[in-house]
Symmetry: D2
Subunit: 302 residues, 4 copies
């Protein structure tokens, strides 16, 4: 495995330069593009790393999985009265569908759906940002994980599109808390800094029937873990979910910070990271690395 | 397995009466609603059946998988220049997306995508309808499978929506043959009559790395079989793909005749059938049977 | 004329009861529905009134004309770089078109366009709400016109939809000031209380080549007055502009308070009012009164 | 008047070269671009011409007014159960709105609405194309007007977009006759060849309260003439109706052959022609000429 990961890093590194670092906020745009890391964590508790697997990065939309897990753990099936789990078929931040469907987001992995999840959590947790940070620490076993407040503040300053979505949902009665407060929480989640090794370990419970391997904690039931994997499989990569299923064949979730997590149910959790994105907003080299990995070991669930 | 299938039939049969038989053409509307069948075919070649598994029905959109297999086998990756493999997020026959995306359908399992596939096949095969019928016979091992010409003719008489889609694609240069001819082929495919046992056997190659178990024929490469499963997983159940992943967790394809096929990669191919549909156009009792089956044996790929 | 107005009031009063008072905010919903007034002001300075022409009401979207006049007077043609003057073909508060057209509203008489106009004015006037109130006083010659702060506050509390629109435009770079401040101004404009006589007089300059009859003040050039009439003719009645042209044939602007103003270029300005609305949000009895008036005197510009 | 028309031709001729001749069918694309004509016909029966006012051209969508007049004359208000008279806010051939509004076109001057009108006429007239040609002859007083069958055939060969629209309406039950037959009629109407003088005379009845000046024939009631003018004012220039009202201020209808007709109610009917189009599909030099004409004589209805 270690040799394979090293080889994959070597073979995909030449792709760096073909993508584009996210720059819609200055704090993200200044990341060094020439980085590529991968980490694989097995259900037996082994961790394999290659490349820049220990460099922390902004997890961005990968945090949407943590938010969903938090909401499912706390509120269960009731959350599905406020959003769906169907692929959206629209860009990640589109309001068109949201208006046509009267404020009910398609799934928890587009921005609008994640905002509803944050609104749900805002009603349930005294300090949602700290709960989330602590959950990331607990799942990964790394108690040094922090929220990058500079990134969070920068995102808040550029909140217009997400504020529009939140207010639109509020106009349909599907947003209960103060918009600005929930946006603060949302951006704090996005601004968590974790590395590939952290994330591979943190997602182990989805490969391991809901149980966190390194500390034995039960995060959710086996059925719930399958359900979250299913949502990742159909909606985890923005408008490239079909492409990811076609090429990689695993449940996954990406973020504009360049990270992608993937799950091999019953066996492994994976994280790749490279900051440059393809036009759909997913890590260009990261996707290539995952495709090669899945292909070489035959990990596609299909 | 046999006991389990019998139990599932018994437990889901009470759902009959809650759905609605498709009646957009008279020839479909007159089917006896009180029917429910299931068939499971293993990669070892064993067939298990329960309920009305030997009653033929109109396979309708399940034929879209056969058309795609035919196109992929003959034309390979080139077909993806004319359509995508992303979930559509729109009702199965919507033209909105097609117009916004300039005549390129999202995937081969919505009507517009299937029409493009038929247009591709029309250019490659002398007698597309007969080729398709023969392929269904070969894959299932049942040489008595026929096209129900009454259904095909009735669909043709009610072709307006599909004709609109075909002409719209033609206006964007993505439809090369005579619209009426391709529609004839398309409706002939939909009008194939097969039973659950036929379909379970016919889909074996997708569970078996591209090889047809009962006659050893290689239909496609293992990679191609995975890719088709991936497309079924993200786009196989109209606007209910996410729900199917969430509840059943298998690649699948449904038809308005009430049939649903599903694939357990590496192990089984399945067909359920019951004519009454839910509001999304998928077999109501069939979905429930598949959910129970997947749940009881833990077959979800996630 | 007086006899005709009396007759029209008598004949349209029976329509009261067929519409529905706007109730999206409590402060509007409590108006007495059984009211109907009409006022006609000639370019010679004669005022004719009938029914409840002296009862003040909330002018709501009629204020969008005042805002536009203020912006045109101050900033001229430059404003058309930030919005258009085409009919929208969409409900008055839809965000779909706004997103597809990258934050540029179709015209100044839908909410999104009026918000941009308010944003423009916010950058030009020290106290936009007071300027607007003073303009309404000056144009109508009634210095007792006030802003109903209870209505304004109630609208602000229910601002979600308009806030969504403003933030969406901000995300496209087409909104420069603080969203909440501009919304405060916008709702203050909407909350002006005027009666039919006030409004008929206040709109005289649009019938009179830009000149306010009662005080001789030049508000704008004859060409600018024609242009504003043109925009009212194609976009003044929400998604009923075509119907208004077909039935009444005059430039007009309506508000959900039940008022409608209309202009007979070169001759008259008119205001009707009755609180109950038709399904398009325009005064039901008011529309009927205007249709009868235009029909009887042959005032249609067509 | 004659001097003014000569001056306008001279001043707008330099704009030739800035637009683009319609070339979606070869038969239209081969017109000589360097042409510009204008004709004004007064309600007193005087005709003023300048430039290439006697050169016939393909009237294209101007024929939509003739079709509507034919339908209104024969079927009256009943036609409005099958289409509306609101501006569409969408490109002239969009299917998006048509699908969302379940097959009911917005107005008779977009393609979809004109197709419904042709479908209505197809049910009422034995030979719709000949009736239409004869009506054009009668209204213009020129019995040499013909249908250019080469253009009609070429349009039919490129019918895909219009066929899509017709079939889509058929799928909603709003199209009763054979699609291909109605398309033949529709393209025949579009392919009428008339010159500016013909069209100015032919549109006189809309300026003259429904009565054809040169032969005294009553085409429709004064009210109906006003209604058609109203529809032209809000929907006559594709997605530029607002611009035309803002700049010209007259009811008008354009065609991709480069012709534009306009009506000064109670006074004049006008036709300008120049083949090169602006990006909205309206004659570039023609629009400029009309704007200058309206501006110089103060003909705007507003």
């Amino acid at each position: 495995m270690q040799a394979l990961l090293d080889e994959i890093i070597e073979k995909t590194r030449p792709l760096i330069g073909l993508g584009k670092v996210a720059n819609y906020i200055p704090a993200l745009g200044c990341v060094e593009p020439n980085q590529l890391g991968i980490a694989v964590y097995s259900n037996e508790g082994e961790l394999f790393c290659a490349g820049d697997a220990h460099t922390p990065f902004s997890i961005q939309s990968i945090s949407k999985v943590f938010s969903l897990v938090q909401a499912v753990s706390h509120s269960g099936e009731a959350i599905w009265q406020r959003l769906g789990y169907e692929p959206s078929g629209q860009p990640f931040n589109s309001l068109v569908q949201l208006e046509l469907e009267r404020g009910i987001p398609r799934n928890p992995f587009i921005n609008t759906g994640a905002l509803v999840i944050c609104d749900i959590n805002e009603s349930c947790f005294a300090a949602p940002s700290l709960s989330m940070r602590d959950m990331a620490r607990r799942l990964s076993g790394n108690c040094e994980i922090v929220i990058d407040s500079k990134v969070a503040e920068s995102e808040y300053q550029h909140r217009a599109r997400n504020a529009a979505a939140a207010y639109l949902m509020k106009s349909f009665g599907n947003f209960h808390n103060d918009v600005d407060s929930v946006l603060r929480s949302y951006f704090n989640h996005c601004a968590l800094r974790m590395n590939c090794a952290d994330l591979a370990r943190a997602f182990c419970f989805l490969a391991n029937a809901g149980v966190c391997k390194h500390n034995g904690e039960t995060i959710m039931s086996p059925r719930q873990a399958k359900q979250i994997n299913a949502i990742m499989a159909t909606s985890g990569l923005y408008d490239e979910a079909g492409n990811f299923a076609y090429r990689v064949g695993l449940p996954g979730k990406s973020g504009v910070g360049g990270g992608i997590v993937a799950v091999v149910p019953g066996r492994y959790s994976i994280c790749v990271w490279s900051p440059e994105l393809n036009p759909s907003g997913n890590s260009l080299a990261g996707l290539a690395a995952l495709e090669m990995l899945s292909d070489r070991i035959g990990w596609s669930v299909f």
